[in-house]
Amino acid sequence: MSEEIKKAPQEPAVNEAEALPKAQNQFHFYVKKFARRKTALVALIFIALLIVVAIIGPAIAPYDPATPDYSSYLTGPTAKHLLGTDEFGRDVLSRIIVGSRLSLTCALSAVIVGAALGTLLGLLAGYYGGIIESIVMRGSDILFAFPDILLAIAIVAILGPGTLNVIIAVAVFTVPSFARIMRSATLQVKNSLYVEVARSLGCPDRRILWVHIFPGTIQSMIVNFTMRIGTAILAAASLSFLGFGADVTVPEWGAMLSTARNYMTTAPHLVYAPGIVIFLTVLAFNLVGDGLRDTLDPKLK
């Protein structure tokens, strides 16, 4: 069949024939992809700054947020008080800065607790199905039926006001969304060929769940996580606004908004400051969530 070969063929070196393209660092790839989304990047920088402010808060606040100054109360923004003063003459800017600490810790802890619980329930429901799935899913459906705030109010009404209870309330209404998302992500990954392979190798259930399935579902969870932080901040602020929140001496954005209601006509600056800060923070988290979702989508550049 073949004609005479011209010279003896030599095996091309294994290295040349089997060479792989240069290894690509996954992390760098995703970081660069995220950086291409300008709005998300700006939002991320804002959040980073916010976190820094929350951590070092009292150190950079120009005034002590609790010290009243009855000589200058309800004054608008001036050079001395950049955002004005409240009804007790306390500096609004300082209160905003120190208040960030409470708002962020509340929201973050609530979402972390809710995500952890919701993820665990979703994974188990998706993997084992049957009665576990029915309980978790119907439970989530019930919780979903309530508007978030109403549920949170109900919980705080039962448990009483206070920071810890606010965190618990927000965590509770965060659980169902994670449970749902993780359950469907689990179902999807469970049916992959490589999971079947793991089973055929003799992998026990626990290992399949945590080593093979869970890493494939993290992607779905991350985006929801960032989005829910925004919701949680809003919820915590709303609860404080309604008077269920923390102790009144500690500054908190929602509580500030609540008292500002009484002075809307005379001192509108008291409404703008906390209002705008809440708005920007929630927006920033949502934009970062959007950016993350786009980054993790393999079909988008």
Binding site: M1, S2, E3, I5, K6, K7, P9, Q10, E11, P12, V14, E16, A17, E18, A19, P21, K301
Partner: protein, 334 residues
């Protein structure tokens, strides 16, 4: 060559990968297709055969792909220079295409009769009733046992073989002069494949339709085609009549391909493989694209790329290789 229906000259197709970057999927492809001939375009995955066929049909508008260079002369007209409107009058009427997976090429939300009638009425001035009669006749002609039942079905209710016959009927309904078949039987079972190949041969015999048959299966090429082009990494590496190609392959890739093909009656000890894998489009080696896997590669092969040149002493054969093409003679003489 006698009456040519298609002449492709130096076709190069690129795909944009970024703002200023592009990969070349097909480079410097030139060949002719005569009337009534079945020409095979053979290669493995990623060699550019599908991209070639899509370029001919002009199906890259609005995508990241574009024909960067070259001419595609269909019956004398340069398809690359036609407007969209003009291309549309040719597509389906004078050139038609059959795709690999009939399940995804037929619209799953439309009944078969609706799709066939649409195809017919696009190019013919017929009433709805007349078009349906034509559709019925076409289905009968492609060997569907119960055309009325099939007309009333949705694509997902048909089997793979039936759907492919419907696709062929759709491709033939305007009696095109040329048909491009892109892996038409790859997704079918072997006994169904045999039926479809017989059908296509019948069609060529009856209507003198030229067929550009794209496949990776050399067995199908041996059975269906009179001439064949072998592609690798976006380039034609060998062209020959099918008899010559199998009896006397010249390009090392063709030789490797034939030697690695499992076939009835051969022993596994006779089977050799081509080491390594197809180069990534965005990281092509300098020089001959097959050199990293070629047992005969020389330093010259790794530095510069050979051209597709006629093989001396063999009519109608071309080869892209320093060791075997027209250069080789010069080398040998030197």
């Amino acid at each position: 060559m006698e009456d040519k229906i298609l002449e492709v000259r130096h076709l190069t197709t690129e795909f944009k990968t970024g703002k200023n970057t592009a990969v070349t999927a097909v480079s410097d492809v030139s060949f002719d297709l005569a009337r009534g001939e079945i020409l095979g375009l053979v290669g493995e995955s990623g060699c550019g055969k599908s991209v070639t066929s899509l370029s001919i049909m002009g199906l890259f508008e609005d995508t990241a792909g574009r024909v960067a260079e070259g001419e595609i002369l269909f019956d004398g007209m340069d398809l690359t220079k036609l407007s969209r409107k003009q291309l549309r009058t040719i597509r389906g009427k004078r050139i038609s295409m059959i795709f690999q997976n009939p399940m995804s090429s037929l619209n799953s939300c439309m009944r078969v009769d609706a799709q066939l009638i649409e195809a017919i009425r696009l190019h013919n001035d017929l009433s709805h009733g007349e078009a349906r009669k034509r559709a019925f006749d076409m289905l009968e002609a492609v060997g569907i046992p119960d055309p009325e039942q099939t007309l009333r079905s949705y694509p997902h209710q048909l089997s793979g073989g039936m759907s492919q016959r419907v696709m062929i009927a759709m491709a033939l309904c305007c009696e095109p002069e040329m048909m491009i078949a892109d892996e038409p039987t790859t997704a079918l079972d072997v006994t169904i494949q045999a039926q479809i190949l017989e059908l296509m041969k019948k069609i060529r015999d009856k209507n003198n339709t030229s067929i550009l048959f794209i496949t990776h299966d050399l067995g199908v090429v041996a059975e269906m085609c009179t001439r064949a082009l072998v592609m690798y990494a976006g380039r034609i590496v060998e062209e020959a009549s099918v008899l010559d190609l199998f009896a006397n392959p010249i390009h090392p890739y063709t030789k490797g391909l034939l030697a690695s093909m499992p076939r009835l009656g051969a022993d596994i000890l006779d089977l050799t493989s081509i080491p390594g894998s197809v180069p990534d489009l965005s990281a092509m080696p300098q020089g001959c694209k097959f050199a990293p896997r070629c047992p005969y590669a020389t330093a010259r092969c790794r530095e510069s790329e050979p051209e597709l040149l006629p093989v001396p002493g063999a009519a109608g054969r071309r080869c892209r290789c320093f060791l075997y093409g027209a250069d080789a003679e010069k080398e040998a003489k030197a």
